[in-house]
Amino acid sequence: MDADLPDVGARVTPLVIEAVDPARMLVLAALLDDPVPIHYDPEAVGTPGEGGRTVNQGPLALGYLGRMLRAWTEGAADLRRIRCRLHANVLAGDRLECGGEVVETDPRAGACRIAVWVRRDGVDVVTGSAELRWPDAAGRTG
């Protein structure tokens, strides 16, 4: 993508996480000094349907979405803001589809707002929005 702003309605190139990796949860739990056992101990996960699979830390979804946006813009845009609401637990082994759609552009600021989501089996587990700014696009009128 060049420095021209995307059009409203443009879809972000999706990012697919084929299987959420429990080993990465362990790394984040250590980085955070996070004592919550559902992120590292399968035996602590007792909710029916979770089947002893550890629960992905919510902010990793924020990271997936940031990664998706960075890849889509090929690093040309700055991530200025990202907001995520988490609707359901994501479990080790889950397949996730991350996506987004441009909902607003501001040519003078060289910025756009994007609705973002993470879906599992077609159902939203995370929804939110992100703001990107293209330094090279600021001041353009179209």
């Binding site: 996480i17 004592p35 056992p37 990271g63 700055d78 991530l79 803001r81 907001r83």
Partner: protein, 149 residues
């Protein structure tokens, strides 16, 4: 969903210690690994700002949970997060964190039961006192028994 005053509402406005937090190269690398990005030495994914802010609380997570009589087994989850980046954090820099509890509200839903939501704000400033990161987390503390309050 209904809302009412939380018994912990008085925590609003309380500052946590905060302090200094470093974006060491290993932290940047490991965050990129966690989100499935190919880590590049000396570079940081901007969303590492979330991790940095949480590493800058100045208290262990257990200490934060204890403020609302919760612990690691209480089912605490992140309900919402908003990360604002004035610029991307840079590998090797030290940022100063300020941390405040902005609000605690009690909610009740037919399916979700009773829970408290803590809105926690963390700001990270650089050596020139420019703000680099603002993170606002909404942490959800289930209250299965409503604590009788």
């Amino acid at each position: 969903m209904t809302s009412r005053r939380s018994p912990y509402a008085g925590l609003a406005g309380r500052w946590l210690p905060g302090g200094a937090v470093d974006l060491g190269p290993h932290v940047a690398w490991l965050w990129s690994h966690c989100i499935g990005e190919e880590p590049v030495a000396g570079e940081a994914d901007p969303t590492v700002g979330w991790l940095l802010a949480m590493r800058g609380l100045g208290v262990p997570l257990e200490g934060l949970f204890a403020l609302v009589d919760a612990d690691a087994d209480s089912g605490v989850v992140l309900g919402e997060a908003e990360l604002v980046l004035e610029r991307a954090p840079r590998v090797g820099e030290r940022l100063r964190s300020t941390v405040a509890i902005e609000e605690v509200v009690r909610k009740h839903g037919a399916r979700s039961g009773t829970f408290d939501v803590m809105r926690l704000r963390i700001d990270l400033h650089d050596a020139t006192d420019e703000r680099v990161v603002t993170l606002v987390n909404r942490l959800v503390f289930p209250r299965g028994d409503d604590r009788g309050r």
